[in-house]
């Protein structure tokens, strides 16, 4: 099997709004794949459907050969994820966060200990392992989440804007970790980011989504060539236009809340 992720005609509709509109693309085993798009284009919604957190309205997904809507647990065991927002337990230590993750993924005690040590050393947090996560900086939390994402040897690691709000040093480190793990353990990496330079540097292939539709895909060279531009950023702006986007999905969800409370 060459493709580790296969997506066909995937659609997600909310009440009167289509967040993802019939997208089709594949991700090859072992590649670093960038999924780019302006705010509200449908990136996060797509990742949610790929990772069993939301169910598709129509279309099909295969993750490592499993359908996340039907074979949820097999699909879940196949991937690790670093969410856009923090998802650590602040009241637990770094070690406990990883250990509980390992327990949930049923990794045996001995292997778990070794793997946690290896990964905490890898993201340079071993000496802080017994500190509560609430005392960590944003960059440290991110690094810990990346260690956690790799803990159970996933086939795929999803990262939703992993470097947002971090300083250049941490960003560089994070890309190094990802490239290294991709190379050494063969983990397929699926990421979204707004830093075009970074996407250009690390990814083998790129898909651009806008208004819920895939509008271009290929290597960054191909994208630049087809748009006759010199950088991925220019290509991106040419493809998606330069006006500022409202985050439609979030607005939708928020009016949803308001409605609940008005009842």
């Amino acid at each position: 099997m060459d493709n580790i992720i296969e997506i066909k005609n995937l659609t997600k509709k909310f009440k009167n709004f289509t967040a993802v509109d019939g997208i089709t693309f594949d991700v090859k085993k072992g590649e670093i794949f960038s999924f780019l798009g302006p705010n509200g284009a449908g990136k996060t919604t797509t990742i949610k459907m790929l990772t069993t957190l939301a169910s598709p309205t129509s279309g099909s997904i295969l993750i490592n050969g499993f359908d996340p809507a039907k074979q949820q647990n097999q699909a879940r065991a196949s991937f690790g994820i670093v969410f856009q927002d923090p998802s650590l337990d602040d009241e637990l230590t770094a070690y406990e966060n990883l250990n509980m993750h390992g327990m949930l993924y049923k990794i045996k005690v001995k292997e778990r200990r070794e793997r946690i040590k290896q990964l905490l050393n890898f993201v340079e947090l071993w000496d802080r392992k017994d500190d509560l996560v609430k005392h960590f900086s944003g960059g440290m939390k991110r690094r810990l989440e990346i260690a956690r994402g790799f803990l159970h040897h996933p086939k795929i690691l999803f990262l939703d804007e992993p470097t947002i709000g971090l300083d250049p040093q941490t960003r560089n480190h994070i890309w190094e970790y990802l490239k290294k793990m991709n190379k050494e353990e063969g983990t397929t990496v699926f990421l979204t980011t707004h830093y075009m330079e970074e996407a250009e540097k690390v990814s083998s292939r790129i898909a651009i989504i806008d208004h819920g539709k895939i509008i271009a895909q290929g290597t960054s060279e191909e994208l630049k060539k087809s748009t006759k531009t010199n950088s991925l950023e220019e290509a991106f702006l040419k493809l998606t236009g330069s006006e500022i986007r409202e985050e439609t999905v979030k607005n939708q969800v928020m009016t949803g809340h308001a409605r609940v409370w008005r009842k």
């Binding site: 337990d89 809340h257 409370w261």
Partner: protein, 248 residues
């Protein structure tokens, strides 16, 4: 099963780690014991009902379990806001196990709190009817704790943020407590009130504890036990269902 244990462990660890939470949640039961126990005690006695502390303590133990259990359940909302919920929702284990582990953990914490209040109540002159029934008392505390942790979890699973919190406190938790017979005897109540009390699950927990710790039960321990057990099963099932339907 390790998933259930993991989520249980998380709740218990966090409880022991947060000393301010343990001490903080003792404030209210102590206040009730002092203000009501000593304040209304003389009237209660004059009315020929005996020692009010003896009557009140099982109600106050139930109250502290109720509050802590509901809060533990509601913590699903915090986890949603702080993101940890997603981490558990993508784990390769059935969602009901996640919910069950959380509920067991929350209930354990609530029972521990109940036992602390129970211990303190001796300082207020409470005397246990028979130590032989302590195990049964523990069972009733556990049932009450499970019911309300599951209820809190179920509610929190369908809410998206804390805006509804006041609503839950004033229109659910407070009525469950005040209309449970925790503070007053059922004999001679107006019919409407008595009917409401009969529909409050908490009434059977309070009655069960009063029966085991104080030796006086209105409904009978057997009835209390069965009613509570059925509610536990129903609420854990409903809670698991709504929890497994969470989309974030």
């Amino acid at each position: 099963m390790i998933a259930i244990y993991t989520l249980w462990l998380r709740e218990v660890k966090k409880y022991f780690r947060s000393k301010s939470r343990i001490i903080g949640s003792l404030g209210q039961p102590l206040l009730f014991l002092v203000a009501l126990g000593f304040g209304l005690g003389p009237i209660f006695k004059a009315a020929g009902q005996g020692d009010y502390i003896q009557f009140l303590v099982p109600g106050i133990i139930s109250m502290s379990i109720l509050f802590l259990a509901i809060f533990s359940g509601i913590s699903v909302i915090w986890d949603r806001q702080f993101g940890y919920l997603k981490e558990t929702l993508v784990a390769p284990v059935p969602r009901w196990q996640i919910m069950f582990g959380r509920t067991l953990g929350g209930a354990t914490v609530a029972v521990l709190q109940g036992i602390i209040v129970f211990a303190i109540s001796f300082a207020f002159g409470f005397r246990i009817h028979s130590f032989g029934l302590f195990l049964e008392a523990f069972v009733f505390m556990s049932l009450v704790a499970l019911i309300f942790t599951a209820l809190g979890t179920a509610i929190a699973s369908v809410l998206e943020d804390m805006h509804g919190f006041q609503l839950i406190m004033n229109f659910l938790v407070m009525p469950i407590f005040f209309l449970s017979g925790a503070l007053f005897p059922l004999a001679g109540l107006p019919k409407v009130l008595k009917t409401i009390v009969m529909f409050d699950p908490m009434s059977y927990g309070v009655d069960g504890l009063r029966g085991t710790l104080g030796g006086i039960s209105q409904f009978g321990l057997f009835t209390d036990f069965w009613i509570l057990s059925v509610i536990v099963v129903v609420l854990i099932s409903v809670g698991s269902y709504v929890f497994s339907k969470i989309q974030v």
